[in-house]
Symmetry: C2
Subunit: 277 residues, 2 copies
């Protein structure tokens, strides 16, 4: 009955935020060439809400004539029981599946605690993340050269090559204090790295970008300007790459990469210690 062209509805169901269910579920769905409608249902944390949700799932299935797919990260036993017994969707019980083998391996029982993200809020790690966000904001676009000593990473590159989103992501996801510093035409005229960066060369990481893509992005900002002109973009990118090569700074192109991939590469190359914690 299931035809690959029909559109399934996928539910991400959790007694917490549902972020884990969604991240993981989307990774799995990316392995299939199907279009799906996504519905996230967070904070389903009692039997009443569970029954309401199950009604919604079952009605969706009947209306669409296709069994919904349900990615569930449920810890609350009452909710889990309602979903297991009454839900007519294909339930992929993400916690249940892996908790049993881990209980065997660790030789202890799991504690069925809901809401990892609320435990996080009290931790040192969380405090560090918030501090890192504040640091990265204060050191965006070279606006403060103070405290570059305490930066974990300094991103360099021409204006609009992706430094700001990447440094905020490094801060938010990994608690990395990421400053960023633009390379500007004056630096190219001088033919040398900004002198402020020289003592910190080891923690500098460069971003570059395809000049055509750069011109496009800059034109959204300042249409028709010299700043956005394609020839000028070619010039700036070439000069920046030459400068980074000369200085021996690692760099990558952001053109076809997501901030997640760029951030992971930077961690691996500049702060491999942060891959272990």
């Amino acid at each position: 009955m299931n035809q690959p062209t029909a559109q399934h509805t996928v539910f991400f169901v959790s007694d917490g935020t549902g972020i884990t269910a969604e991240t993981f579920g989307n990774s799995i769905l990316a392995q299939f060439s199907v279009k799906a409608r996504h519905v996230r249902r967070p904070f389903v944390d009692n039997g009443e809400k569970a029954r309401q949700l199950v009604r919604e799932i079952n009605e969706t299935g009947q209306r669409e004539g296709l069994r919904p797919i349900v990615f569930a990260t449920l810890v609350n036993r009452e909710v889990l029981n309602v979903v297991r017994q009454e839900c007519q969707g294909l339930v992929l019980d993400m916690f249940g599946t892996f908790i049993a083998p881990l209980e065997d391996e660790l030789n202890i029982k799991s504690n069925h605690r809901v809401g990892r993200f609320s435990d996080i809020a009290k931790s040192q790690e969380y405090h560090d993340r918030i501090e890192a966000i504040n640091y990265s904001l204060a050191h965006d676009d070279g606006q403060s050269a103070k405290n570059l000593d305490s930066a974990d990473v300094i991103l360099v590159g021409v204006s609009r090559c992706g430094k700001t989103p990447t440094s905020l992501y490094l801060a938010m996801q990994h608690g990395i204090k990421a400053a960023n510093y633009p390379l500007i035409p004056e630096d190219f005229d001088r033919g040398a790295m900004p002198s402020l960066l020289v003592p910190h060369k080891k923690k500098c990481f460069g971003l570059t970008i395809d000049p055509e893509r750069l011109a496009q992005v800059r034109n959204e900002r300042r249409p028709g300007s010299k700043y956005a002109d394609l020839m000028n973009c070619h010039y700036e990118v070439r000069e920046a790459e030459t400068m980074m090569k000369k200085a021996g700074i690692s760099w990558l192109s952001s053109t076809h990469k997501s901030i997640e991939e760029i951030a992971t590469t930077i961690l691996r190359d500049i702060r491999p210690d942060r891959l272990m914690y």
Copy 2:
């Protein structure tokens, strides 16, 4: 042999960024009262790297006398085979486990495509996220009242109650254009919502915070100031809450909540449409 007090090493292994393996693995580990050493190994995308990784895992197990736990999101078949055949850790194959039942349900084969996050980089959704980050940065701390029309959400609350990290998270994770606007003593003297916000009341969401926590946070910034004074923090929080109540704005306390939880609550309350996509 496994004693709950011993420290296991947990590997997060992926041929992509490893973010999915880590998010999901940490959610599962949060169900156990164990301390573990975490090691993330991203971009393991060929047999050579796989064999090197498996050597590292097996040596860790021998050295520590405890079988490592391996959360794997592997799509590359060559890598998966090396890990399945040679790894002596407890391999929790997160993709393999759920892809088979989905293949049956969808009646199509999965495509074994590596790197969801690199597909993302080309999508409209990704472009919208980057736009939202730029918007949220430009509308941080009430610095621009222009374009509040195009805000999806406007966060309000006293200085340092968590507005900035929350709006950046909403932008980065959900592509939500989140402006934020501080409530300041002048607003309390006037006894009315800032007039700029009045036409946008429906998309305003308030954050509040425990006054003692606020005084602590502000003291890190400006020690001994009136701004950080506990009595003043009590006053500002009370006035802000009264104002939000009067204006009929939903709000929550950020004191014991992570930005992930706050963001999910805001989405559910202000933009439930964004839970479906």
